[in-house]
Symmetry: C2
């Protein structure tokens, strides 16, 4: 396959005005052409914005999402709910008149939390709000009762490793940023297991809390004992840290009925508007359909999935058909680590040269600010022109790092990637909690996000050349 | 008793420079004197502020409160925890070297929520987060299973009263303000009971939610069937409203094991710094010691109780003794409706003429803005001068309505009343929820609140004249 790519690559190199590459020696000319070409989409961009924000499609993505999450609820990888969600989407995408609506089977993890609870027995009885972490093992049915060791960092745990044996390690690490702090959720059980702890309770990765535990996936290592692990609220972590700093002995009983079943078949859900001129070339717009098993998965990632669907609906409603194929992919099993997306990549990477751009919205659909982008300088210059079409709603910024969990497989291999950037100031208040519901979504903000998503994906799919890599 | 008061009153009228009244015909002179007198407290005010904010007492009220709420937990009227809390305070107030530390017995309600749950059965299985409302009756052990009627107001309920019979009424009223909206919590069950509903679920009285139910007291009427009633989260109320607006049939099973026991003896907790010159005259600083049975009751009203204690501690630490008695009262059973405070009033109202001012902090101890005050214009003018002493920390504002639940008995009968005003923008995010914990309290803000509380109460207790009524 690699050999064939090389031939195609060499063949295409000299094609200054052709597709898909823009060569340096003729870039100046071509870029001016592209600028003019993009400027020509001004009326279409306005029509998209108008339809999404003020027209018949106003609030449609919000209302569709509300209907979906109210009907299905949360949709964890491996669950019946996710299966129902996929069937639901398969039906409504067909009813919407989209093309090539189909499901692509993939194997996904099946973990269930079962019954779970944590009770502080000393210094006083107190019910601790917990959410077991994805892939955690269970406790014995009678639970694990042990004294608590509170630490604020892995460093402190390592320094106090002699104290950890037989204890339940409570991590009370401060929230710095999700990227920086999530290692405690991902590796807290492994690090505690290494020093002989019997369980770990991890302060939720949250920038604000109303006694809200935040779940999420975690990783074991094959050479380290697997200990049960759950997240607790910021409040309870802080309280146990205060008690511990006073020298108070804390005893907790943790019960978790979590179970990992064998992987099961799920599906990436796909729908298209087939390209008129280069149907084999694709622009991917996407979000993931699975969610955590709490709340409604409205924000993570219902919003991203439904503005992606909305992009195709708006284009169809306007009677538009881009030159390239616009492909909606609703990834399955993102939460266990981009599982559906990885298999999609393995299945389709042979066709990587035809992937123009991969777009995923998976960081909220609040007030949009622009797009994050990964790609060549030339592609970025083109995107900058396209973003000018969003002047009417003042969403023209371009940021770094356009890959998301599901699209990174492509981006790491050279395909331009874009993700939606929006006001995430409250995102980690709700992320992976019971509070991830329609209440956090705003129809006006979703309209704007859908407009951004649609203008960008449509114009990239319709301009004569693919984005240069 | 009234006759005696009248004699005292007449006797005192002509005493322009005497206590406790300032008469119009000599007010000008006296007020100038008072202004000068108050200005003379500038150094003492600075010393109080310095000790509270920067000195040895820095963060003391926060740390004392943390220790208290971490040790005791929540303290509902009638509970063992409240009993332990009172014993704890009795001990630490004595250890602090305060005077006349004693408990005054009162009868308080004893209601326990027991086990409770709500499960949506149709259109899908969904566990609804609830908190039963105080004084609610139980459901039968098997629960109440019924179709839901969602309304957004009492008006809508009355218009649809024919539909309510046999239903569980869900109120999805918008949050306007606590004062405006709390009627749905207080009277929701009565109004639903009048039209034949079998239970009521009330959207929490909350300005923000992370799926957080907010409990609170509610009132039955003797001529209306008592139906079980609980609060639900904003999120679930909105979801059921959306489902209902789509014509979706909703069925819920509500189980509540709530039980009202006979009233039991509790105590208002009192400590003093006895006045040097007019010991029979009192300035009351107060907060309530009871809380709801969720979270830690750190905000409502741990903060108010502990800055009130702090006021006495700071004055004692500075070696000060005001002319009048400074009395700390930690009310019991505020949450069921100022029950401890009412009995205190009945017991002590014979002495009302000696109550100089009643101060309660029960609206948070966040960043202080000033004091709310109820009293005569002359008293307000004096308070304005006192507030100038708080210029160093820029907390000089005076607002209206200085009564709180526990002090209103006095204020309605003519005693000047003051309450702390602070930044309550997040107060109703946490109020009566599992999120009312030390995490919402800020030591620096509590230092400032304590400084305000102390300067005002000390100066009022020490100036030559009582506040004119």
């Amino acid at each position: 396959m690699k050999f064939l790519f090389l031939i195609v690559f060499i063949y295409l190199l000299p094609q200054c005005t052709g597709k898909p590459l823009i060569r340096d020696d003729c870039h100046q000319h071509t870029f001016e052409e592209i600028k003019r070409e993009i400027a020509g989409y001004s009326d279409i961009a306005k029509a998209i914005i108008n339809l999404a924000v003020n027209g018949n499609a106003q609030n449609r993505s919000y209302e569709r999402l509300a209907n979906f999450v109210d009907t299905i609820g949360p949709r964890l990888s491996g669950s019946k709910n996710l299966e129902m969600a996929i069937k639901y989407m398969f039906r409504v995408l067909q009813e919407d008149g989209l093309e090539n609506v189909h499901l692509e089977p993939v194997k996904v993890p099946h973990w269930e939390r079962g019954e779970e609870s944590a009770m502080m027995l000393a210094p006083r009885n107190h019910s601790i709000a917990i959410l077991g972490l994805g892939s955690s093992v269970a406790t014995p049915p009678e639970g694990i009762t042990a004294e608590v060791l509170v630490v604020t960092s892995f460093d402190e745990l390592h320094k106090r490793s002699q104290d950890a044996k037989g204890k339940i390690v409570v991590y009370n690490q401060p929230f710095v940023s999700y990227e920086e702090t999530v290692k405690y959720r991902l590796l807290g059980a492994v690090e505690a297991g290494k020093v002989g702890a019997v369980a770990s309770l991890i302060r939720s990765i949250a920038s604000f809390s109303i006694n809200s535990p935040h779940t999420g996936w975690q990783w074991y290592q094959s050479d380290v004992p697997k200990i049960p692990t759950a997240c607790i609220s910021v409040e309870d972590a802080e309280m146990m840290a205060r008690m511990s700093s006073r020298g108070t002995r804390i005893v907790v009983t943790l019960k978790m009925g979590a179970k990992t079943y064998t992987d099961i078949v799920s599906f990436n859900t796909v729908a298209e508007i087939v390209g008129s001129k280069y149907p084999e070339q694709v622009v991917v717009v996407s979000g993931h359909l699975d969610s955590w098993d709490v709340g409604q998965g409205a924000m993570d990632d219902g919003g991203g999935a439904f503005i992606s669907w909305e992009a195709l609906s708006l284009i169809k409603d306007l009677g538009l058909r881009p030159k390239r194929t616009l492909r909606l992919v609703l990834w399955t099993a993102e939460e266990p680590g981009g599982v559906g997306a990885e298999q999609y990549y393995q299945l389709h990477k042979g066709n990587i040269s035809n992937f123009d751009i991969v777009m995923e919205s998976d960081s909220g659909t609040f007030m949009p600010m622009g797009l994050a982008f990964t790609g060549s300088d030339k592609a970025r210059a083109i995107l900058k022109e396209i973003m000018q079409l969003l002047q009417p709603i003042n969403v023209t910024n371009i940021y770094e790092n356009g890959g998301e969990t599901d699209t990174d497989y492509w981006v790491r291999n050279g395909v331009p990637g874009a993700s939606l950037r929006d006001d995430i100031s409250k995102y980690f208040w709700f992320h992976h909690t019971q509070g991830d519901t329609m209440t956090v979504q705003d129809p006006s903000q979703m309209n704007l996000c859908a407009a951004v998503w649609t203008v960008v994906s449509y114009v990239i799919a319709d301009i004569e050349e693919m984005l240069p890599r």
